[in-house]
Amino acid sequence: MQTLLYLTATETDGSLGQPALEALGAAASLAAALPETTLLAGLVGAQVQPAANQIASCGAKRFLAVTGTDFAASRYASDAAAAAALIQASGAMLVVAPGTARWLRCLPGVAARVGGRADTHLTALEVVNGQVHAHRWYYRQRMEGVFTRAQRPWLLLVDPGSQPAWSGLPGQAVLEPLAVTLPDHARRTTVTGIREPAADAQTIRPDAKLLFVAGAGWTKKQADGQTHVPEAERLIRDFLRLSRASLGSSKSLVDLGGEGQAVLSFLSHLNQIGQTGATPRHPKGLATCCHGEEPHTVGWRFINERRAISLDPNCGWARGKADVLYVADAFRVMDRVNALLAGEANV
């Protein structure tokens, strides 16, 4: 008999968000596929009863909890103390958690603390001959590995967006609270806030159906020999407003800002896709004014349908990286796209 602990933190309202439910789906499936395995839930947060009730029918035999104001915010020291206590109290040899920023920071350290190992960015979990096999990508999404591990406890962090979310009926779960007393050194850090763009200026939208990528070509000289950065800004902003797409960029475009060149004012490194940027998950992606070279397109690994607009018919997108390449002037195309979208919005 072995124990699999589903470990997560709650949202500020005490509920579980989408990444947590996806990890629960993976944990429940894994527990069901492994012989003689008991699923337990471990919850961390200021209040966790709503979360426990939300997943009361998930099959967990016990709902362990570390609660209180000390555990509300995402802080390494308190999160690590809570997670370590839950793992030790559960006696779990397998731990499944969502790969959120909070747990990605904390659980690798916890693995060291409890004498185990953590593996992150897992995109699938399966049972082969009674053993857990994990899937993840290496070299920035260039190759996929499938592996198993002997060390225990084994902490498995599941990438958000890679699994179907658990769904089931809510109920009334009985919590088993654990007392975790933080030492003074665990309170050296305090979370003071969150910085985010104003709602209408937020260009990173993880739930968007479309990723729109702007490349450095938007800031280069156009056919008339002049740059048209303000026009590029207007076209892109209008498109994002009308389409509700998420904005990505190539590294070269973001880097122009650091080199003192004219750039799109609303872009930051947070928008960067590729080798040194993000690898977002969206059903569709449209690249504009971007060469589609490998360091950038590795960030498109999880974009299913891909189209690109480029003046270069021999760019990287033409070499099997996009489904459709439009050899055209993105300024003119996006102007027409915006006109059509605006027309539809006014109907």
Binding site: S74, Y76, A77, A101, R105, C106, P108, G109, A112, R113, R117, A118, T120, H121, Y138, Y139, R140, R142, M143, E144, G145, V146, F147, T148, A150, A186, R188, V191, T192, I194, R195, E196, T203, I204, K209, D255, G258, H269, L270, T276, E294, P295, R301, E305, R306, R307, P313, G320, A322, D323, V324, L325, Y326, V327, A328, V333, R336, V337, A339, L340
Partner: protein, 267 residues
């Protein structure tokens, strides 16, 4: 306040190279791995530039780069990196590929950091990239922190400010393009950097000459370390079959393309 800033940074294959997995005697590896040109790991590079920037702002601070990688490749990478910013260098001679276990890497790095002469936890900031471009795991720095007994860890850092009272204000990336703002009482702390806000420094031959006086002796003293992936068994490592049959549309008008795109958005 002067800081002892230790940057953990290793090397990665040039991202423009074609990478192909092969089965080696100890598990998966890259085809012709030792022949591939190498670079400083990009996020570790950002950490190094941020460390140098902080050291310039805080007189008396020192930057030490601790690198684990095959000795010959480290030498190649240092020829460029040494021209960027001033630092002392500690080299460890061992595997740095993507299929090694970060826990083993962390153990070697923590041991090397512990052995630095004059190490003072009250001044210690351990920097590194939040993930490598090889494993991409984001596990090493937290494991180093646990081994060194450092209670404060930040990951995906884009900004670090020293406040007037000596506390540190740290901005970390979280979901949906947001940053978490934390206030840490001060060193010791571990910070895994994302891109930060600094451009890559231009090569400076004078810095390069000064650094190289320490680089070659450090290379000679590089301690061999055994880094593998004990306990891990790979069932497969494969390249994705992702080449698409690209349809190239050359002679369509902007109106035609726009209409096709709108239909695609809605499909």
């Amino acid at each position: 306040m002067p800081y002892q800033i230790v940057v953990c940074g290793s090397l990665v294959p040039d991202p423009l190279q074609t990478l192909e997995p092969v089965q080696g005697p100890a598990g998966p590896a890259l085809k012709n791995e030792m022949m591939l040109p190498a670079w400083l790991d990009p996020w570790a590079g950002h950490a190094l530039y941020e460390a140098a920037h902080l050291a310039r702002q805080q007189p008396g601070s020192q930057v030490t780069l601790v690198s684990l990688g095959p000795k010959a490749k480290l030498q190649q990478v240092m020829m460029t990196v040494a021209q960027k910013v001033p630092f002392a260098w500690v080299a460890l001679d061992g595997a740095a590929g993507g299929f090694t276990d970060p826990a083993e890497t962390a153990a070697a790095l923590a041991e090397a950091i512990s052995a630095l002469p004059g190490l003072n936890p009250a001044q210690l900031l351990v920097f590194g990239g939040w993930e490598s471009a090889t494993r991409g795991a984001g596990v090493t720095l937290q494991t180093v922190a646990e081994r060194l007994g450092i209670p404060d860890v930040f990951l995906g850092v884009d900004e670090l400010k020293v406040l007037p009272d000596g506390a540190l204000e740290v901005l970390e990336r979280i979901e949906a393009g947001r940053h978490l703002i934390s206030r840490c009482a001060g060193p010791p702390a571990v910070l895994g950097w994302a891109t930060g806000n600094l451009p890559e420094p231009k090569n400076n031959p004078q810095i390069g000459m000064a650094n190289m006086r320490g680089v070659l002796p450090a290379l000679q003293k590089a301690r061999p370390v055994q880094i593998g992936a004990a306990g891990v068994t790979f069932a497969s490592v494969t390249l994705p079959k992702q080449l698409r049959q690209t349809r190239t549309v050359k002679d369509a008008s902007p109106d035609q393309i726009a209409a096709e795109l709108i239909a695609w958005f809605k499909s």
